[in-house]
Amino acid sequence: MTLLDTELAPGAEPARKVPLRGRQTWRRLRADRPAMAGLAIVASMIVVALAAPLLCALEGQDPTTFHSGLLDSARGGVPHGAFGGMSGDHWLGVEPGTGRDVFARVVHGARVSLAVALGATVLELLVGIAIGLGAGLGGRRADAVLSRLIELSLAFPPFLLALALMAIVPQSVPRPLLLACVLTAVNWGSVARVTRNQAMALRGRDHVAAARLSGARPARIAVREILPGLAAPLLVLAALKVPANMISEAGLSFLGAGVRPPTPSWGQMLSTATTWFRTDPAYVIIPGALLFTTLLACTLLADGVRRAVDPRWNGRS
């Protein structure tokens, strides 16, 4: 019924059914210049995120210390000096209002952004694959129940539900972990739908029947015979989900419902920047440029992955 019908609509399916050939896909991706540029940026961002404490030690600052001496109290707390107070001590200046070091905050912000985006994507895949396989292989009754569940989860507007959920979740859990879980709770449906449909299609194939007749247990069939056939569409979906989750984290933090100070996040810095952009434009530009570059890189990579998996994809959906 409802949302599964929409598969009739062109472009609603994330990927056509093509088998994944690892080496060939990688060769195509290597030849795709925008995708490789994206990959390079994403990889260096991951290095920066992993090395955040090291980079901060190199600069000699930490992301949480207030430096009120560097602020111009006559101008409402704008940093002294040009470009948001950039100096040898504070490479990217200090935060208006608090005087916290911007460089330390953006490199730690990269950690939050990437950890939430990747963590949520992995969790969504795990939950979605489990439920999708359950629906696709678990027999008629399981499929009826789980398919309704998948439809329901797809009927919610995910970002708004995540926003609402952030209001009632326990406050003691670390916010990045909470964000990854909440994003998973609202976004697993698309993975489950693709898994279910693909598993349904693969179920009748000869190699699956052969495995069943030779006495393989259902779990083994699911892992050895069905999962490899899911690799192509799920790889594409996962690549698309990384930037989607990153933008959601930034959005939630921007709205004050995501990562809270003192933990830094790019979205949260931009939210603070809305009150300072007139007097301290550098404080908008630095986290804004980082968020934009990382998102663009992830999107380029995702598009490249999709082209590499399915060269005949024409750019729709």
Binding site: P157, P158, L291
Partner: protein, 329 residues
């Protein structure tokens, strides 16, 4: 067709009912005390007890949900002794923090959100469709590459970042526009538009990227079909090919996918309203999330889910009506 229609509507109704039940259960069975959440921060013992009684939180949860549904259809009273808060149908709940029915709060904010959505759509639709068509017709040339690049930028940029940059450039640096402060249309149409220009542009850029991608794919698909090649071979002018075939081919996916993107547009609208300080439904949502005004959060979530389900149903029906190839089974 009529059976399909009825079955489709019944299915949508079932989904809506399940959706509201899940939202209700999710929020009223949450680990925190719903009375504390509904009453807000700094609520003392007596007011807390009053809120608990008014919400009927000591009733079993299915009874509470039944009252919620009853309120939606017939309105309800939240009473504790002589103190009664009336909430007329369709009652989405009652905010004890602002002492207003949620429906009233939403209706108060509706004109702002409607102004934003209508203006942005009016900009985004022509912009996105022409960009998508252009990119499909100039396949393999520089124009296509530029258009695809621009579309990608639209997908990769959060709407609040676009908004911030627009504010910095046009309000702070060039000073062509005042800092946006919402003015109702009925008060002064000119100032209404002047204050909404930047939010419209920010939201429209994001939406146009979506429209452009859908239009491009639809047009490309039609342009390679046999009948178009035949018409071209017969000497049909390119202008006619575009109008009769490329555009029409893009129209069906545009209708259906636009409805499917409604959740994404709502997300962008919430962020835009907060970014520009427009007092619309989106900003109300964010405010009530941050002040943990539970009844408003529940009401808005149910409403948003309803909009998505209705949009999906309408999309399916339109799609079935517009494309005879769709099976009605």
């Amino acid at each position: 067709m009529i059976w399909y229609l009825l079955r489709r509507l019944a299915a949508a109704a079932v989904v809506l009912l399940a959706l509201s039940a899940i939202v209700y259960a999710l929020f009223y069975l949450s680990p925190g005390d719903p009375a504390v959440l509904a009453c807000g921060r700094g609520c003392d013992g007596e007011r807390l007890a009053l809120t608990r009684e008014k919400l009927g939180l000591d009733d079993p949860v299915h009874l509470q949900y039944w009252h919620f549904l009853e309120g939606l259809v017939a309105g309800r009273d939240y009473s504790a002794g002589p103190d009664v808060d009336h909430c007329a149908a369709p009652c989405l709940g009652y905010s004890f923090q602002t002492d207003q029915p949620v429906t009233t709060m939403l209706l108060d904010r509706l004109p702002v959100s409607a102004s934003l959505a209508a203006g942005a759509a009016a900009l985004a639709l022509p912009l996105g469709v022409s960009a998508g068509l252009l990119s499909a017709l100039r396949r393999g040339r520089l124009t296509e590459r530029v258009m695809t690049g621009v579309t990608l930028l639209g997908f990769a940029t959060p709407v609040f970042l676009i908004g911030l940059v627009l504010l910095m450039v046009f309000c702070a640096y060039l000073q062509w526009l005042p800092f946006p402060a919402y003015v109702p249309l009925t008060e002064s149409p000119a100032r209404w538009a002047q204050n909404l220009v930047l939010p419209w542009v920010a939201l429209a850029l994001i939406q146009a990227a979506v429209y452009a991608r859908i239009t491009r794919a639809g047009a490309l698909e039609t342009l390679v079909e046999d009948h178009v090649r035949t018409f071209r071979a017969y000497g049909l002018r390119e202008r006619q090919v575009i109008r009769r075939h490329a555009l029409r081919g893009a129209l069906i996916p545009l209708i259906t996918l636009t409805a499917l993107e409604v959740a994404q547009v709502m997300t962008a609208a919430v962020l835009t309203e907060t970014m520009f300080g427009l007092p619309g439904i989106g900003k109300l949502t964010v405010e009530s999330v941050n002040s943990v005004d539970l009844p408003v959060v529940v009401g808005v979530t149910v409403l948003a889910g309803t909009v998505v389900v209705v949009a999906n149903t309408v999309a399916d029906l339109l799609h079935a009506a517009a494309d005879p190839r769709v099976k009605l089974a």
